[in-house]
């Protein structure tokens, strides 16, 4: 049965993110009182980029190498997550998923440093600022989640208890996923009016298309992960859990798009500090309530 369901869910997970990007654009357009693009527009964009001239920037062997590694690993982590929810691959799938994700992030940030364009370097250094804060608390909150629930793999049948400290840590994880998805006010690395789309500035054609596709997958992955950890509170059956999670992810995606449409961009000196304050507060509250047993 797994041999049928896993491929289906994996292909859904690969197709859905770009579609959801189209939905997001449509929602944004509605808030801005206009019609907006067709829902499949983001897919059209990617097909179009694939049909363009294949262009590699001069002296950019490093860029292409790193980029191709990123392009391979980003779908992999998503597939790994989905597979391991249905069928355990190891006993420590949760930790492994997070580790791969962090490696991918590091890989992703290193790409723009190899491009001799100042905008991409500024974009990358801004992204580092944000990622340091964000990933640090991703690790902290996941560790706390494992500590509270004792889960190291998604397939373990222990029902996580619905307690205040778990909820607080899930809140941290959701904020974390919002920031990782690069939405306003945290899209300082791509800040179009300032940096001319930052780290993607020199890429074009098929490479850009694949990168955009992978960024959509990343957005999906960062939302799916906390959603799975949340649904784990209520659902025991793995397949149902995953299906529900995907549906909840779609809802979360819609909520996030509404939120990003009504906010403005933050500044590189403001965003990490604000985040840091919120994270520290929530984590401390969560630990206190855990100690108190609430």
């Amino acid at each position: 049965m797994f041999s049928v369901i896993i491929p289906i869910l994996v292909s859904v997970a690969l197709f859905l993110p770009t579609l959801m990007d189209g939905v997001e654009r449509k929602i944004k357009a509605r808030i801005q009182s206009r019609i907006g693009p067709p829902i499949l527009q983001s897919w059209f964009d990617i097909f179009k980029l694939m049909s363009k001239e294949f262009y590699i920037p001069v002296n950019s062997l490093h860029t292409v190498t790193l980029l191709l590694m990123y392009l391979a690993l980003q779908p992999f982590v998503l597939i790994y997550l989905i597979t391991s929810v249905i069928h355990p691959l190891t006993d420590y799938d949760l930790a492994i998923t997070i580790s791969i994700y962090i490696i991918i992030q590091a890989l992703f940030i290193s790409i723009p440093f190899t491009i001799p364009n100042p905008f991409s370097i500024i974009g990358a250094s801004r992204e580092i600022m944000l990622v340091i804060v964000n990933e640090l608390f991703l690790i902290i909150s996941i560790s706390l989640y494992i500590l509270y629930s004792g889960l190291t793999s998604f397939t373990q049948t222990r029902i996580v208890s619905f307690t205040l400290h778990t909820i607080l840590i899930l809140l941290v994880l959701f904020i974390n996923s919002y920031v990782s998805s690069g939405r306003l006010p945290f899209d300082i690395a791509e800040a179009e009016p300032e940096l001319a789309s930052g780290l993607m500035i020199e890429l074009s054609g098929p490479l850009l298309g694949l990168l955009i596709l992978c960024l959509h997958l990343k957005r999906f992955f960062v939302k799916l992960l906390p959603v799975i950890l949340l649904t784990k509170l209520f659902i025991e059956n793995n397949i149902i859990l995953l299906m529900v999670s995907i549906i909840v992810t779609i809802i979360v995606w819609i909520l996030y798009s509404v939120l990003s449409a009504i906010l403005a961009r933050s500044r590189v000196d403001l965003a990490p500090i604000t985040l840091l304050k919120i994270y520290i507060l929530l984590v401390i509250l969560s630990v206190i309530s855990y100690v108190l047993g609430i």
Partner: protein, 551 residues
């Protein structure tokens, strides 16, 4: 201002002129003082600092066909007394040297360079470099000299300007094509980390040779349409300013109804321009929804502009002696309805935009222009008013129909981006009120005076308060076309102030600060981020210590 007071002031200027052995004359609101070039620095200091005048611009004129000399007109503005003070000096064509007044009047920096580029006037005691013309333009050809045809195109070897790439300095070109600018301009920002320490500007990508064209191919009435295409946002300002300059020089009567219609069109232009700016500012701050809604509201202004003038922009209704299109009752009704709707919707939108947390945090205390610097650089318009300089040409030297309306001039003292934002927001409401007053008092009568003759070699200086500040047109009349036509757009005076505003700001605030002067580069005529300490390193250093320095 009463007449005895005016006589006193004029007497004072006569004394100044005489004390520097110059000649003095005046017509209406324009005082013309001719002095020897050696006395220029002293008289400039007296007028700019002792008489507390602003510097409007300087104009180089090739008068060789008339008297064999090159002339330089410095135009000062005594806004408090509603006077334009023109100081004229001449120099020989063979050795065209004139003392520079840049150290005394910092505002005269650019116009001196422009006179150097286009007329070959050499200014003493200052560095001269290319400002207006491209760097590959031949050295000894000065396009505004009368012996160079307007359509002269040199055989140029064009090459891109490349800033040397070394391991120590990295170059970030913000511009000439940058998404925040929408116009080809180039700034060089020297940064430490994300903090800006110095700024260099390379503009004039839009130099199209308008002034030369106005002196050669086109006729008096055609220049109205040419002037309108100086700038697509505030084009009507230029058309009105040009025709007013000619009307002043030739003493042409303009029917009252025409003056009202000009004022209405000018205010509609201000409305669309400010709504546009608020939208663009929101876009730069990443608030695209605010941008979209601001432009949605602006669209109804564009519709009434089309209704009244026949075109959404570059209205094309202005002629010397009046306007081409009349307004009827139906149109007035439509305009008033639209204004009610715009006022209501805009008020709601502004409350929302100013409550977005990131916007409030990012526009306050960024890009500060202190009052002293504003005075030194003679900045104009909303930039001046946000830095505590109370100047508005509509009130100080009324033109068109502004003497018949009541309005407030918003002035704020903090000089930051927030103040400039507030000035523009207030001005939107003022403009709506001005249009209402003008429409309800619209006098009857003709709109165009066709019967006039334009005498030769008369000087006219005209000022119009554009959405970006005062616009100055200087005309010397000629046969069938102006002998010399000089345009000083508002942004011309405001760009040098950017240097002050950007120093100490973060890179992230730079686009907003540049946009906060509402730059209109096509009127006026690139950003490279260079980090002398190698920014790969310095950007990674001091991550949390990047607050905007407030001096």
């Amino acid at each position: 201002m009463n007449s005895s007071n005016k006589t006193n002031i004029l007497e004072k200027y006569r004394e100044i002129a005489e004390s520097y052995k110059g000649s003095f004359s005046y017509i209406k609101d324009t005082v013309l003082i001719t002095v020897d070039k050696n006395a220029l620095r002293d008289i400039a200091e007296t007028i700019y600092w002792k008489m507390d005048c602003y510097h409007r611009t300087c104009v180089g004129v090739d008068e060789t066909p008339l008297n064999g000399y090159l002339a330089l007109y410095h135009i000062f503005g005594d806004d408090k007394n509603g006077l334009n003070i023109i100081v004229k000096t001449i120099t020989e064509l063979k050795n065209p040297v004139i003392p520079s007044i840049r150290d005394i009047v910092p505002a005269a920096d650019w116009c001196e360079l422009e006179a150097h580029d286009l007329l070959g006037i050499v200014f003493e005691n200052r560095d001269l470099y290319r400002l207006v013309l491209p760097p590959y333009w031949p050295r000894d050809i000065y396009p505004l000299r009368k012996n160079i045809p307007y359509n002269y195109r040199p055989e140029v070897v064009y090459s891109s300007e490349r800033i040397s790439e070394s391991t120590e300095t990295a170059v970030v070109p913000i511009g000439p094509y940058h998404p925040a600018l929408h116009e080809p301009e180039y700034f060089e920002l020297f940064v430490e980390g994300e903090k800006i320490v110095d700024v260099k500007y390379r503009g004039f990508h839009v130099h199209r040779g308008i002034e030369k064209l106005g002196e050669s191919r086109t006729t008096y009435q055609q220049i109205n349409f040419l002037a309108e295409r100086i700038c697509g946002i505030c084009g009507f300002v230029h058309a009105v300013c040009y025709s007013q300059a000619v009307e002043k020089a030739a003493n042409i009567h303009v029917p009252e109804r025409a003056r009202f219609i000009r004022s209405i069109a000018l205010e509609i232009e201000r409305l669309h321009s400010h709504l546009l700016w608020i939208g663009v500012a929101a876009h730069i701050l990443g608030y695209d929804t605010g941008f979209m809604h601001s432009w949605r509201i602006r669209e109804s202004i564009m519709l009434i502009a089309e209704l009244l003038t026949g075109s959404r922009k570059t209205y094309g209704i202005n002629l010397i002696g009046g306007v081409r299109r009349d307004i009827d009752e139906n149109k007035i009704k439509k305009v008033l309805e639209t204004l009610d709707y715009v006022e209501k919707d805009f008020k709601k939108l502004i409350d929302i935009i100013t409550s977005v947390p990131e916007i409030t945090r990012r526009i306050k205390d960024t890009g500060v222009l202190p009052k002293e610097d504003a005075r030194k650089l003679s900045v104009v318009g909303p930039v001046a008013r946000a830095s505590g300089l109370d100047r508005d040409i509509r009130r100080d030297l009324p033109y068109a129909a502004y003497e018949y309306v009541d309005f407030n001039v918003p002035v704020y003292d903090s000089g930051d981006n927030l103040a400039r934002f507030k000035v523009r927001v207030d001005e939107v409401f003022e403009s709506i009120s001005i249009i209402r007053q003008l429409l309800s008092n619209l006098p009857k009568g003709p709109v165009l005076n066709n019967e006039f003759e334009i005498p030769e070699y008369k000087i006219g200086v005209s000022l119009v308060e554009a959405p970006r500040g005062e616009d100055v047109h200087f005309v010397i009349t000629g046969r069938g076309k102006p002998y010399r036509w000089r345009v000083r757009a508002p942004t011309y005076n405001n760009i040098p102030a950017l240097k002050v505003m950007l120093q100490g700001c973060t890179l992230a605030d730079a686009p907003l600060t540049i946009a906060s002067i509402d730059p209109c580069f096509s009127c006026t005529d690139r950003i490279v981020i260079i980090d002398e300490k190698g920014f790969r390193r310095s950007i990674l250093l001091n991550p949390f210590n990047r607050k905007c320095d407030l001096k």
